[in-house]
Symmetry: C2
Subunit: 398 residues, 2 copies
Amino acid sequence: MANAFEFRILASDGAARRGELTTPHGVVQTPAFMPVGTQGAVKGMTERDLRENGAEIILANTYHLYLRPGDRLIARRGGLHRFIGWDGPILTDSGGFQAFSLGPRRRITEEGICFRSHLDGSEHLLTPELAADIQARLGSDIAMALDECLAHPATEDEARRSMERTLRWGRRSRQRLLWLQSQPSGAVLEDGRTPVRTNPGQAQFGIVQGSVYPDLREESARETQAIGFDAYAIGGLSVGESVDVMYETVSATAPLLAADRPRHLMGTGTPLDLIECVARGIDLFDCVMPTRNARNGQLFTGQGPLNVKNACYAEDDRPVDETCECYTCRHYSRAYLRHLFLAKEIGASTLNTLHNLHFYLDTLGRIREAIAFGSFESLRRAFHQSYSLRLLAHDADG
Amino acid sequence: MANAFEFRILASDGAARRGELTTPHGVVQTPAFMPVGTQGAVKGMTERDLRENGAEIILANTYHLYLRPGDRLIARRGGLHRFIGWDGPILTDSGGFQAFSLGPRRRITEEGICFRSHLDGSEHLLTPELAADIQARLGSDIAMALDECLAHPATEDEARRSMERTLRWGRRSRQRLLWLQSQPSGAVLEDGRTPVRTNPGQAQFGIVQGSVYPDLREESARETQAIGFDAYAIGGLSVGESVDVMYETVSATAPLLAADRPRHLMGTGTPLDLIECVARGIDLFDCVMPTRNARNGQLFTGQGPLNVKNACYAEDDRPVDETCECYTCRHYSRAYLRHLFLAKEIGASTLNTLHNLHFYLDTLGRIREAIAFGSFESLRRAFHQSYSLRLLAHDADG
């Protein structure tokens, strides 16, 4: 089980890679998109919906699950997979980003992130060690080291201090996981507690920070890899910087990360971002965009995004995307989806989410195929051309 | 198509009947339960979910669809079936109950129900003729005559006046539908409008009123049948009267309704109500209880209702109902469903609704089987005994 985590590159096309990631709960074809299941559920989706849409791995949020229903309760249920009824791979974030997002309700010290719960105001100190412990109890297949998320823009000085703290937290995160893994099953500590792991094969990713400063990114990439994680993520992007700066930073950082490990770009992005970052060597993506935007009525299509609440769709009998094979498009019209959205029906969220996830996952599937066939560049060009059609035609649509 | 509406009794057991109702959009095995799709969607369910749960007919609300997205828009989409992506039978209510429920925002005159929209405050006059026109445009398989709903309790005088008005409205409703059906396709009226029907085989049910007064019910049953509808419904129950009074009224009224037509009990009820009213000769039921209560965390089981938010389920790894074969029970634990409910996840509504509808539809299936085998009475006794188990064991559960 300790060697359950493996990554094989099957093909490459330019910097784009077609790979296969093995985890204790199964194999993920990469490049892959991970739907976000914040509270242990991808909003509006059942396990069956995710499977039918081709999802192979999902992401869950440590911060949310720690507060409710509690990582210890989940461990007593046998771990997160059993609790949420998803037996495929799961990645958990470290909780750092959510805690950071609490703004005035959190304070960052060298020890960790001190925050007040958004649920009941209770005070918590999220240390690198606690983040590792929680994730060990959840038993995700991939755990993330705790990092410090920096607001954008930040001065180079601020970015350096933060990047260096993330390195120190990364070392503590790694040390804790190795210590947890070294404990015999059923061990009891001096304080009477037992270190609980519900997934002996759990891998851990380190996170590269450094804001938009190439020197800092380079240093962070080098030093994070020196710690020796199972793989590496690029953090601190898609936080407000321009898309060009984001692409440049990915271009500069991805090649610095071990070629034989999957590269995860955190929290990104639009369909175009995905294709552009695959072109720069990224293998794993997660983002709330397809699911959150679905609930707000924005539907992704090969011709660009479509806002289903627009009046122009009131009597439009076409499916959202005429070439799409998702259940929503095979079965429902834009007119009906608009009605459901305006009537605030639960079904609007469900059907829109089904479609958007299908679009994201299907796009990744086409990307993987193109890399394997050596036609990634032409897919990339065709995608850009087609995706801008609606953006140009209906400016008001977005 | 004009003869599309047919009802055959396949078996009976005491007063309970096992039948088959043919409509322009397919056959319904009776006794049947109709999930309520207020705004053209059974909340939280897709067409696929309904099919998988065995739903054969659904109900939609004329009042809601008239206001949004509008019955004319739906007619332009080809009718309600095509608009909502459900090609099975649909029954539409007349809108009377919803308009009545608006309380101070409605005024009832001989002409009809004058009300202000709950959406934008606009004023509308719902006459028997308009209710028939709207339903003709929607193209449901079964339309309901407009009736006056009476608050409970009502004096016998109030109940008589209201019952007599419902009779007059019933005559106008029937006359209007017959007139609509007599118009040649594509006819243009003097005012330039066209009478639109999207379902030439639409049937129409009359509604028996009379509150809890046997004489009034008897008169209403006789006079409503004299009008000559395709079948008859019992209205004005499950509005606050005791369960005994409800059962008594059904016992007294059902036998007065033509034995060769399906009998519809409107807006009822609990699982016990269903079995008790089947025993009294009812064939069709509709009720928001399984869907609405699901969204409030109340789950129906063979051992009685279970409130999933109760703390006792926090670490309960069992399915909601260990004998249930619905997707929710095959896949998720009470602990997880409780978490979803407390976390206000959309999935709580979806999964709970899936289960409750399965329970209702499966119960009706077992009732049908028992009637066919002549074992309805023993099913009825066994159901009562089992269903009260949790009610007795966990009083706090409800």
